[in-house]
Each structure stands twice: as structure tokens, then as C-alpha cells.
């Protein structure tokens, strides 16, 4: 029989034509809307899977990380700056010492002819130095690892994890790259994304576009209005990067009707949105509106003219963009694609877009609308979990806590989704096809995980706890016939039911 479906094939669809019972819905809730089941998760959800997800959104700390030890982006930027200065100073000092040692050696060679030696006067020769040790990861990388640890602790520890999944979604929507902003990539997510993940889209947009990480990543920090005081004096000018990506990627979406003039005008509007130099001890690395860099005069964006009100001019345009119907459609599509299907049902997209507009971008209401929509539950489980989702789900299934964050970081590198390092401002791809090629690598990781814990667990129990009624008879049989517990566990993590959601 020739296949009539796409991607997942007809078989999966066929499996799901019958309505899911309560337990299957609980399993689906965990895989599709959360981070996958842990031991006891299915039972904890009970009969009302939808209600359990919604209840999680009402928790006061949903999507938040409270860890006083994590640095603010300003503190992180200053620490990174100081670290680089110290490294520089060290290198200079080492060079000076080498030269001095050379001088001393020369002197000593001369002095050897005399009865006296000059060695006592040279306590800091190279021989007296402590042996050179591995300096370990630098401060920026240490900060990044701390942030990563907090992020994955959250994902591993959450009950269902819908709010946390939303954080990951928005963090990828508004991505920055640690290759450019290593020390503050984690702080960006905590400061600009998390506080608004169940708040208002406009607030998130403002927080993102004015965050030092974004301003640096997309070059706005050095974008100067050609007619501003700085522009006239330095002869430097506009950088459209953030202006363009805000329209194309963050709000309206590509080919949604804006023009190059809109891009240029908006880029001018946000000139002066920059960062206090990190060397300044108090506010270094923090957002700063610099009037001297700001393009003076009114600007027209999407046929609306905005008077020059300085910083407020940018906020006014962002607010209009946040409320624009094209933005609602763009966000609705991306949400539905992420959670439900590569080609999401149009009815679902329409529902979400309408809710977005009706509530003026209330993201909690939009997220609820997603969970309440029947299409979000009825769609076949055809989406391949992204590597990061799959890694967390695997660890949760195996009952693994976070021991060494570098292990996860390395895993994500291997699987092609390096943490906070998307290949482009568009973020990581969100369709299954993009991640299919990484399956052999996932098998390697599954084997490693299974070797770590596989001897200790009962594969049948784990299958019950993680797949429950979603497991096909073929899958159950494959697991039961495995040659060892570790093999059964590796197979479980690679079953279609576990890979897809």
C-alpha cells in the first residue's frame, strides 16, 4: 500500500484515530506540552490532563528561576570585562617576567665570573614560578555554565514543564548567540524572557530589544543616527541589523508587507539604544539610551509617523509592532508549529492569533488557548523532539539528576543544537526534517545514558512510566526482547513514541 500521509507515515496516524483515554492524554500532555514523564508523572496528572497543564501555569513561580547567586547581565558583563583585563595584565606581566629572567640570566652569566652572584636579588625568575596549570574555563564560560545548570535543573525538576517549554520556545524565538555574548546569554533569558513568559508580549518585546545581549548580538549597540551628535562628529552611521530582524523575525514576520524604508526608519528610531561600557564599575554593561547617538526627528514606520521623543519613540514603535495583526499571525503560527505540528492546522493558528489580538498579546491567555484547543491534542504525534527536549526527556525517564552540566552541553553540541548558540538570528529550526539526520548521534547518546543507568532499571517499568498507553505493541515487544537492560533502555529512548511528540 503506497503511503498517503507525510513525514510520520500513515501508521502513526492510524494508531491515533481512536480517541485517547485519560492515561494516554496524561502521557501526551507530558511529551507534547512538557519535558516528558518522570517516575510517577502519569499518575500525578490524573484524569484531567488539560487541567493539570493549566494549573501549572497558575503557579506563582511558573517559568521563573530564583537563584540569588546568578549574576545580572550587568554584573556578568563587568566580571567578564575584569577577567579579560586581568588575563591581559597577566600576559603582559608574564612577558615582562620572561624578559627580566632573560636579563637576570645574562647578568648571572656575567656574574659567574665574579665571586658574587646576583641570584638572590632575583626571587621572581622563571624557575621560582609555580608550574603552569590549566587555567580552566574562563569567567564568561563559568558564568554560562552556571546559567546552563540553572536552566536544566529547572527543566529536569519541573512536574510537567509547559511554562518551562514556553521559556525555551521564546528564548529560541528571540535568540542571541553565546558565541557573541557568552557571559550574558543566560542572563538574557532570565531577565528578558522569563519574567514575561506568562505576561504580555509587548513587555517581552521591550525587554528583549533593550537588553544588552540583543543590542550587542544584533549590533544595535554601535548603530548611530547619521544626523545625531555622535554621527555628525564621528562620521559613523546606521546599522540596520536589529531593526530588520525585529520586524522580520521578532514581530511581523518575513514578507508580511513592510518595506526597506520601514526597516531603515525603525533602525533610526532605535539608534541610541546602546550599552554602558563594561569598564564602568557601577552601570557598565547595562542598557543605556544615549541621546548623542539617537537620530533626531520624526520617523515613519508602517505608515505611522512617530515624533522624536527619544527613547520613547522606540517604545512606541515596538508597542505598535506588538499589537499588529501580522505579529499575532506570526506568533500563532510559530507556537502551533512548535507544539503541535510542522504544518499546523489552520484552525488552531487562527484561534491563537485571534486570542493574541483579543487580549492585546496576553501570553498566558494565548498559551491557555493552545492547551484548550482540540486540534492541539488531536494532531498525530509526528513532531520529532528537538535534541535538547529529547535529552532532558531521556534524563527524566532514566531518573538522572544533573551531575555535570558540561555533559549536557557536550551532548547538545554533538546533537547539533549547541546551547544558546543558534546558527543564525532565526534560531534553531523547528521542523522535524531538520533534526532527522541526527538520529545516529542520538543513538550514541542513548547508549551512553543506558550504560550509566541501564543496569539498575527495569525497562518495562520505565516503559510504563514514560510511554504508558502510548507504547505500541511492537515497541513493547522490542523492549521485552532486548538482550540486556541497558539495551532495552537505549531502545526505549529511541522508540518512535519517545522520539516524537
Amino acid at each position: 500500500m503506497p503511503p498517503t500521509g507525510t513525514a510520520a507515515g500513515t501508521k502513526l496516524m492510524a494508531l491515533e484515530t481512536k480517541p485517547l483515554d485519560a492515561k494516554a492524554r496524561a502521557a501526551l500532555a507530558l511529551h507534547r506540552f512538557g519535558f516528558g514523564p518522570r517516575a510517577g508523572s502519569l499518575a500525578a496528572i490524573g484524569a484531567d490532563a488539560r487541567g493539570a497543564i493549566l494549573a501549572e501555569l497558575d503557579r506563582s513561580n511558573a517559568g521563573q528561576i530564583t537563584d540569588d547567586d546568578l549574576l545580572s547581565s550587568g554584573e556578568a558583563a563587568r566580571a567578564a570585562f575584569n577577567f579579560r583585563q586581568e588575563r591581559k595584565a597577566e600576559r603582559l606581566a608574564q612577558r615582562a617576567e620572561r624578559e627580566m629572567a632573560q636579563n637576570e640570566a645574562n647578568k648571572a652569566a656575567q656574574a659567574a665570573k665574579d665571586a658574587q652572584t646576583a641570584q638572590a636579588a632575583a626571587p621572581a625568575t622563571a624557575d621560582n614560578q609555580p608550574p603552569k596549570t590549566d587555567p580552566g574555563p574562563g569567567i564568561p564560560q563559568q558564568i554560562l555554565l552556571e546559567e546552563a545548570k540553572a536552566r536544566f535543573d529547572s527543566a529536569l525538576g519541573t512536574d510537567i514543564g509547559f511554562a518551562e517549554r514556553l521559556v525555551w520556545f521564546w528564548s529560541n524565538h528571540f535568540c542571541v548567540s553565546a558565541d557573541k555574548v557568552r557571559a550574558i546569554a543566560g542572563a538574557f533569558e532570565r531577565e528578558a524572557i522569563r519574567p514575561h513568559v506568562l505576561g504580555n508580549f509587548a513587555d517581552m518585546l521591550m525587554a528583549v530589544e533593550s537588553h544588552p545581549a540583543m543590542l550587542f548580538y544584533l549590533d544595535n549597540a554601535r548603530s548611530i543616527g547619521p544626523n545625531s551628535a555622535a554621527g555628525l562628529r564621528q562620521g559613523k552611521g546606521l546599522n540596520e541589523n536589529l531593526g530588520r530582524e525585529t520586524l522580520e523575525l521578532h514581530t511581523l514576520g518575513a514578507r508580511s508587507g513592510y518595506s526597506q524604508d520601514d526597516v531603515t526608519s525603525f533602525a533610526k528610531v532605535i539608534t541610541g539604544w546602546t550599552i554602558t561600557p563594561a569598564k564602568q564599575p557601577e552601570h557598565g554593561g547595562e542598557f543605556n539610551f544615549n541621546t548623542r547617538m539617537h537620530e533626531p526627528g520624526p520617523q515613519t514606520v508602517l505608515k505611522t509617523s512617530y515624533d522624536d521623543s527619544g527613547y520613547e519613540q522606540g517604545r512606541a514603535v515596538l508597542l505598535a509592532l506588538a499589537r499588529h495583526p501580522a505579529t499575532a499571525k506570526h506568533i500563532a503560527e510559530k507556537l502551533a508549529r512548535h507544539f503541535v505540528a510542522d504544518e499546523p492546522p489552520q484552525a488552531l493558528v487562527d484561534t491563537l492569533a485571534k486570542r493574541f489580538l483579543d487580549t492585546k498579546g496576553d501570553l498566558k491567555e494565548v498559551s491557555k488557548a493552545l492547551v484548550l484547543a482540540p486540534e492541539a491534542w488531536d494532531a498525530p504525534r509526528s513532531k520529532l523532539k528537538k535534541p535538547s527536549e529529547w535529552t532532558v526527556a531521556s534524563m527524566r525517564a532514566c531518573g538522572l539528576a544533573l551531575a555535570d552540566i558540561r555533559r549536557i552541553v557536550n551532548t547538545l553540541n554533538l546533537l547539533g543544537e549547541p546551547l544558546w548558540r543558534p546558527p543564525a538570528p532565526k534560531g534553531f529550526a523547528d521542523d522535524s526534517a531538520a533534526w532527522m539526520d541526527g538520529l545516529p548521534q542520538r543513538l550514541d547518546i542513548a547508549n551512553q545514558l543506558a550504560r550509566r543507568v541501564g543496569g539498575l532499571v527495569d525497562p518495562e517499568e520505565i516503559a510504563d512510566a514514560t510511554l504508558g498507553p502510548l507504547a505500541s505493541p511492537e515497541t513493547r515487544q522490542t523492549l521485552a526482547r532486548a538482550e540486556s537492560r541497558p539495551q532495552a533502555l537505549a531502545l526505549l529512548l529511541m522508540t518512535p513514541e519517545f522520539l516524537r511528540r
Partner: protein, 410 residues
Amino acid sequence: MTIHAPSRRELLLASGALFAWAYVPKLARAEGRDPRLLVIVLRGALDGLATVAPVGDPDWIKLRGDKALVLDGATPALPLDSFFALNPAMPNLHRLYQAKQAAIVHAVATPYRERSHFDGQDVLESGLTKPGSVDTGWLNRALATLEPADRAVKPLNAFAVGPVTPLVVRGSAPVMSWTPPRLPPAADDTVMRLLDLYNHTDPALARVIQERMGLAAIAKAGGMGQTPPAKAGPGAAAQVRAYFTEAAGAAASFMARPDGPRIGALSFDGWDTHADEGAASGRLSALLGALDGAIGAVESGMGDAWKETAVAVVTEFGRTARINGTEGTDHGTATVALLAGGALKGGRVIADWPGVKDAALYENRDLKATTDLRAVLKGLLKDHVRVNDKVLATAVFPGSADVKPMTGLV
């Protein structure tokens, strides 16, 4: 921008290959000996009849037909005595056997008589008569009763405490683990099982696995009937062999050191040969060749300590006596235990041979068990490491008072 994708080697690998006790047994030391014991667990159930074939049994050819190892075939089996012959993939073991440094115990099995890998491995490693208990293993319990000599092993840099140890060495006696830098190759067998599952439930995933992993043997075993992709068997076999050899050789060189551990365990996966078993040339032949390489690597890695070494290669159960419908064998009962080492009184096949007539088979399908594997292990623990009878019958293999330690192994 550039993304640094770490090679497989750069990844942290958590699985230890060697799990070892950090002490030297005191009693043996008092006798002026310094014995080494290495237990190698083969997971997946080794086909004992394809490893050591009863070529002198009149029912042998009838049983296995053209899959029966024989002395005059295209790949002739290596004669052990007038009745048994060794798989031709194992020249090292054959040489050791001729030098009286290797022995075979045949028609041997644990007390477990069902056919689940998980449960079978639990029984094999726990040393209990029934599955279900996974807290401690018999080797660890043996260690716990041994009195350490005055000298504890120096912690070596290469050792780290392993997060999870195999059941056989799990327990209260502290165990160290060491991990080889080389990753074990992704088991073909695991891929084959996945591919089979995907073929039945998720064709898109099946396509990716087939295309990306390019394993000809798998496509064939999966009954795909397609032209196999270019990359195939020999490379994978060489990889397996390299991994076994490196893991075993390095383990031996640790145990050979004056300040190294004395008792250790390794495990090798992949023996569940349900389809296309390939005893003479194929998958099992490659695995046995890799195991033979590992035994050779232990011998050379031990150096002078080889003469005080005993290696015991054991598996959870055997496989069906007859070949099944897919040119493989299914889960069975009795199998072989391979013993090697300079300390052994070798050059013998130890078997109370049950025969392979239909009527002689256990439940008309498996080689019948006539020797209890616990007797073999108890014999080694008693005479080589000096664990006493009473402890063996109670703490190490509880309820095994009737199973006397096999004498004269070392």
C-alpha cells in the same frame, strides 16, 4: 560562524569497562601467591554449541546441518580433544588450551531455567537462585568476605569511582572503575532492532537510520531486500575487536601492576544472535574473534602476572540447540564457560555431556545443563582467591551448599 562539534572521543563516557576491587586478598598473599581474577560477562547469551562444538557427537551434524562447525569444513574448527572443537575464530584460546592454560566447561548453566535476558543476567550476576534482587553481586560479596592484606592498592589516576557498576561487582566492598578512551561501537544489534521496529511503526525513521548508518548487514537481516549501502561488516567487526582488545588489555595492565587491583570484572555486549548468527563467518564469528583478541590482550597485558591469573568468561544462558527460521538461534539453557590463565590446570574440556539427540535436549530445544556454573565459580574463588567453603555456600552463592566447588581448576 563555526560550531565546534566534539568528536565521539571528546564526549565524556560514563560507562566503566573494568570494575575492580582495590585490595589484595590476605590469605593468598600468606601463601606467597598474588592471584588475579578477571570475570568477563557476555551479555545477550552466548551460543555455546557454536563456540565449542561437539564434533564427535554422532547427532551433531543432524542438529545443526550446514551451520554445524566441523573439522573439515571451509573454515575448519580447531580440535580440542577427540570430541570437542573450538570455533576457528579463536586461535588465541586454542593456543592457550594446548599450553594447558585454558579450559572449557560445557553444558553449564546458572540455576535459572527461564529465558529472559534481564532475569537471566540478574541470576548470573547476583549469584542468587531467583531473579529480582539487584542490590549486590556475587563477586562483590566474595570480596567483602576476603580479608585485605596490609597493602591497599594505591589509587591510580586512571581510576575513578564509577557511577553505576554492573550487578556482579555491586555491593558493600568498594569498587573502582576504569573507562577506556575508546567508545564501544554502536552495537549493530541495537541498530538492527531499532530498524525492525521502525519498519513496522515509523518508516520515516527507518529511512534515516538506513541511510545514515549505512549498515549492509542490517538491511539484510531486516529482510529489506534492498541493495545494501557501501559501508559494511569488516569495518564494524574491526571496531568491535579494537574495543574489546583495548578494554581487556588495559584492564590487564592495571591488574598486572604491583600496586594494581587484583580482582575485576568486564562485560561485553552483543551476543543475542537471533538471526544470521554467522558462527563460521559472520556476526558471531566476529564477536568470538574479538573476544579471542581480548583474551590475548589480557595475556600480554598481564605480563609476568599471567601465571597467577585466571579469567572466567560467563554468560546468562545458552541458545537453542537447533538453528531457527532466520539462520540464528533463540534463547536457550546450557552453554559454555571459558576459562583462561596461567594459573589454570587447563587443556581440558570439562563436561558431563548430555548429548544432542532430540530426546536429550532440555524441553526438546536446548542443550541440557549438567554442570552448575556456580560450581565452577566457587572452585575458582576457593582455590585461586581463597574464599572458604562456608562463605561460598552462604554469603557468595546463598543456598548453594549442594553445589560443591569444582576442584582442580587451578
